[in-house]
């Protein structure tokens, strides 16, 4: 979020969204589209952008970059998730569950940091998820934004 309280200064605060700091490890461009691979510790995340290294010079191998995605875009899986098309699958352990009437918020401890996910409360029940369980946090490539 871009916030200016005093009208004097502009600065960015990304509140609450998942933000994982990494380095660009691969840039694959075709026409107007680019798929970026972002190395975050031992994990690789992929993001697709309507951009190319020409239109956006920050897209180069080795450049530090943050992968950003909303909690509501994080899909939760249990057990075998190898046959799912999603590119971004991160294994972790449920640290905290906050349940509302319709939605639930899961906080997942992973190797690359804490990932928050908002899914339906019913899904938490159906998957029988409780604190301490091992789960996969998964994000579609087109839901991952990047920022310097």
């Amino acid at each position: 979020m871009l916030i200016s309280n005093s009208r004097k200064r502009w600065f960015f605060i990304f509140t609450a969204v998942n933000r994982l700091q990494g380095v660009i490890s691969q840039v694959q461009t075709d026409g107007h589209l680019t798929i970026l691979k972002v190395q975050v510790k031992d994990q690789i995340l992929s993001s697709i952008l309507i951009d190319s290294p020409v239109t956006n010079p920050i897209l180069k191998i080795g450049a530090p970059i943050a992968a950003i995605f909303k909690e509501t875009e994080v899909i939760i899986g249990r057990g075998d998730v190898s046959n799912i098309s999603l590119r971004n699958k991160i294994k972790g352990r449920v640290d905290q569950i906050e349940s509302g009437q319709l939605l639930a918020r899961l906080s997942i401890q992973t190797n690359i940091g804490v990932i928050n996910s908002v899914i339906t409360a019913q899904a938490v029940k159906n998957l029988n998820i409780s604190v301490g369980d091992e789960v996969w946090a998964m994000i579609k490539t087109n839901e991952v934004m990047v920022s310097q």
Partner: protein
């Protein structure tokens, strides 16, 4: 090209400071000067208009030199082709709208311009009214029209819309856009309103303590251009609602509101009136043709 290179020692609230501004303004566009109060924005306008004399520098509009300290050129305000509109309306109270415009007309000008401006600015039905019978927005429309009648090369606008309510402001922004396009004037506008800047400005110059700290397109100056999100808007938070661990954030963008789901922890960061960037991946929005 309008070339402005000026320095001037100014008295600020926190003591004297030197205004030192260098900028090239493209003719026929809208350039916004923005920055905190007391930064020197109004002084820049006053020096362009000739109401204030720079200590040193050059002001050139095309090939016309309006001020040149080295060559000792300093044209008086009436010899500079400018229109100047302030936040206050400054209309003649005893004259009708039409008479106010007529008063601004120079001898060499065709009177038909008055009808044209009255038409463009939507003043046809108000032309025989006196200022006391007009709303704030209408008065400011007249003040703008009066400045335009003289066909200035440079139209200087010092927060002309800031005293108006939002609906009126949006309407006047549309008028301003229209006249700038019709007459290809160079407009230099002082404003704090971010949505106004995004709507109107071709170029933004941000001034702090008499120094230009940033310049470029609104997107370059105010957006996180390092964020690769193609669906981005800036707006103002108008409502924050909590539900469970979620926030529903209502943001006014232009004249439309949108609602975004956020995390409750955003409640601590955000408050009503904050300017925010709303960004999403360009893959999410759907587009439907409006018939």
């Amino acid at each position: 090209m309008i070339r402005i290179e000026i320095t001037k020692l100014l008295k600020g609230a926190q003591g004297p400071f030197t205004l030192s501004a260098q900028m090239d303004v493209n003719e026929g566009g809208i350039t916004v000067l923005t920055g905190p109060s007391g930064a020197g924005k109004t002084s820049v306008l006053r020096m362009i208009s000739g109401l204030m004399r720079p200590d040193a520098g050059i002001i050139m509009v095309g090939d016309d030199t309006w001020f040149h300290s080295g060559q000792k050129i300093n044209r008086p305000p009436q010899k500079r082709a400018i229109g100047y509109v302030f936040q206050e309306y400054a209309l003649f109270p005893n004259m009708t709208v039409r008479q106010n415009l007529k008063f601004a007309l120079q001898k060499s000008q065709q009177p038909s311009i008055i009808d044209e401006v009255i038409e463009i600015m939507g003043l046809v039905r108000l032309q025989d009214e006196k200022p006391m019978n007009l709303s704030g927005g209408q008065k400011q429309r007249v003040a703008l029209s009066r400045a335009i009648v003289q066909m200035p090369k440079v139209l200087l606008l010092d927060e002309p819309l800031s005293a108006l309510d939002r609906a009126m402001r949006i309407q006047l922004q549309d008028y301003l856009h229209e006249i700038q396009r019709s007459y290809q004037m160079s407009v230099i506008l002082v404003t704090h309103d971010i949505s106004e800047i995004f709507k109107l400005a071709n170029h933004v110059v941000s001034i702090q303590n008499g120094v230009i700290v940033n310049a470029g397109t609104p997107q370059e100056v105010f957006s996180d251009h390092n964020l690769a999100g193609k669906f981005q808007f800036t707006g103002e938070v108008v409502k924050l609602e909590t539900q469970d661990f979620l926030m529903i954030i209502t943001v006014l963008i232009g004249s439309q509101t949108i609602r975004v789901i956020g995390d409750q922890s955003e409640h601590r960061e955000l408050k009503i009136g904050d300017h925010v960037l709303v960004a999403s991946k360009a893959f999410n929005p759907i587009i439907r043709k409006l018939s």
